[in-house]
């Protein structure tokens, strides 16, 4: 972790709050399935590995499987056919599913192993059974949000609670961002000797937040004491 003193903490905080994009679920599923498949193979593919693009043909299949898993995941337990125990213990996305009666290898395994001379594992990565989605497919963003949440913890069972908590988190983030923006602006103005503008900015900050001075970093707080 970087501990460099010249890192701008205000800008870093602001950046973190605004840099929230995550990979899509289908990409997560593809990579994790490939990683698990490779681990099961027990040997390095090295130069014998297929070209990176060779396994992408099955991505739509993986995406469909992920969508199905997510849709099933949001249903009430009574409607869920998925065996929760089959989910990965690590909380990672499951490998693409297969229909009963299909060959044991999941699509990703086929794609990766097919061009390779390595022996194929006869025990495919455990894939949870997939229920036929009863719901209309949710918007992509909602799927990604849900996927991101499931990455760190199982989603709450109460959808209303979840929504309320998410709203609260967003509101807190917005407040923090606004404060950080004031601080970034103040620091830059002071650093550049634009004290008149800095004083006006401080007045705006104080107007918006009664405890503005307490929120300032030490160096800015010392300067702020000199400003009425």
């Amino acid at each position: 972790m970087s501990t460099d003193a010249d890192r701008d903490p205000a800008l870093a905080t602001l950046w973190r709050e605004h840099s929230t994009e995550t990979p899509s679920p289908r990409v997560d599923a593809a990579i994790l399935a490939a990683a698990h498949s490779a681990a099961e193979s027990g040997s390095n593919t090295g130069s014998r590995s297929p070209p990176a693009r060779a396994w992408r043909w099955w991505v739509p299949l993986a995406a469909a499987a992920v969508v199905a898993v997510v849709v099933v995941g949001v249903k009430p337990p009574s409607q869920t056919i998925v065996d929760d125990a089959a989910q990965s213990a690590s909380g990672m996305p499951a490998a693409p599913a297969e229909k009963p009666g299909d060959k044991p290898a999941a699509p990703v395994e086929k794609a990766i192993a097919a061009p390779s001379p390595e022996p194929r594992s006869t025990t495919a990565a455990p894939a949870p059974p997939i229920a036929t989605p009863l719901h209309k497919e949710p918007p992509r963003q909602k799927l990604e949000d849900r996927r991101a949440q499931s990455f760190v913890a199982p989603p709450p069972s109460d959808a209303t609670q979840e929504s309320s908590a998410a709203q609260t988190r967003r509101d807190e983030a917005v407040t923090l961002l606004s404060i950080e923006l004031h601080i970034v602006t103040l620091r830059t103005l002071v650093d550049h000797g634009r004290f008149d503008e800095a004083s006006r900015e401080l007045a705006r900050f104080r107007g918006a937040y009664p405890d503005a001075d307490a929120r300032l970093p030490d160096d800015l707080r010392a300067w702020a004491k000199t400003v009425r």
Binding site: M1, S2, T3, D4, D6, R7, D8, L11, A12, L14, W15, R16, H18, S19, E21, T22, P23, S24, V27, D28, A30, I31, L32, A34, A35, H36, A38, A39, E40, G42, S43, N44, T45, G46, S49, A52, W55, R56, S88, A89, S90, M92, F151, V152, A173, V174, T175, L177, S178, L181, H182, V184, T185, R187, T188, L189, R200, E201, R204
Partner: protein, 199 residues
């Protein structure tokens, strides 16, 4: 930034090389967001970022048996990502990522950023403006400055590690970071002033 950059990244990678799939899961969970955003901010296209992101991690998977913890895992991982974005730019004929330091001639003001003065901004809209302004300012940075900034913000690497990764000196990295931060802050100040004018 990595969610929880662990000191045991290297151990996890070695465990994965021995066949422990769960170790890869841990590594992926820690570093997926940072690597993805690093690539996304460079190419500004989610589809391309997805492709590059897959390539990077597939490279990790393929290289597992030859991985040697001579440096931090994060350094190695972001080196792969850095090389991948350079390759992408070369293949598409775009600007080189690492060139001379001519990109540090900060004379040209890159932040010709028109303020979004449409609706009366509530806090949420303001947040959107911040995000938009940051992204616009970042996209306008010279590639080497953007690279240094993203590596610092998303990877958590030290200046020395960023310098080694990008093949330049620490002072050059510091210089790039200073310019990048100044330009980003300038963009934010414009936004703040525009917002204040509206009130």
């Amino acid at each position: 930034m990595s969610d929880a950059p662990g000191e045991d990244d290297e151990k996890c990678m070695l465990a994965y090389a021995r066949g422990e799939a769960a170790a890869f899961d841990a590594l992926y969970a820690r570093h997926r967001n940072g690597v993805y955003r690093y690539l996304l901010r460079h190419c500004n296209n989610a589809g391309i970022a997805d492709e590059l992101f897959q390539d990077v991690w597939m490279n990790v998977i393929r290289s597992r048996a030859t991985y040697a913890p001579t440096a931090r895992f994060a350094t190695w991982l972001y080196t792969l990502a850095h090389h991948r974005i350079v390759d992408h730019w070369r293949s598409t004929g775009q600007a080189k990522l690492v060139s001379t330091d001519a990109d540090e001639t900060a004379g040209a003001e890159i932040l010709a950023l028109a303020g979004s003065r449409g609706d009366q901004p509530d806090v949420r809209a303001f947040t959107g403006q911040i995000r938009e302004r940051l992204n616009t300012a970042l996209a306008a940075l010279p590639p080497a400055q953007r690279d240094a900034f993203l590596l610092q913000q998303e990877s958590g690497l030290s200046l020395a590690e960023i310098a080694a990764l990008t093949g330049v000196g620490i002072e050059t990295v510091k210089s790039r970071l200073r310019y990048a931060a100044a330009r980003l802050r300038a963009g934010l100040i414009e936004l703040r002033e525009a917002s204040a004018d509206e009130h």
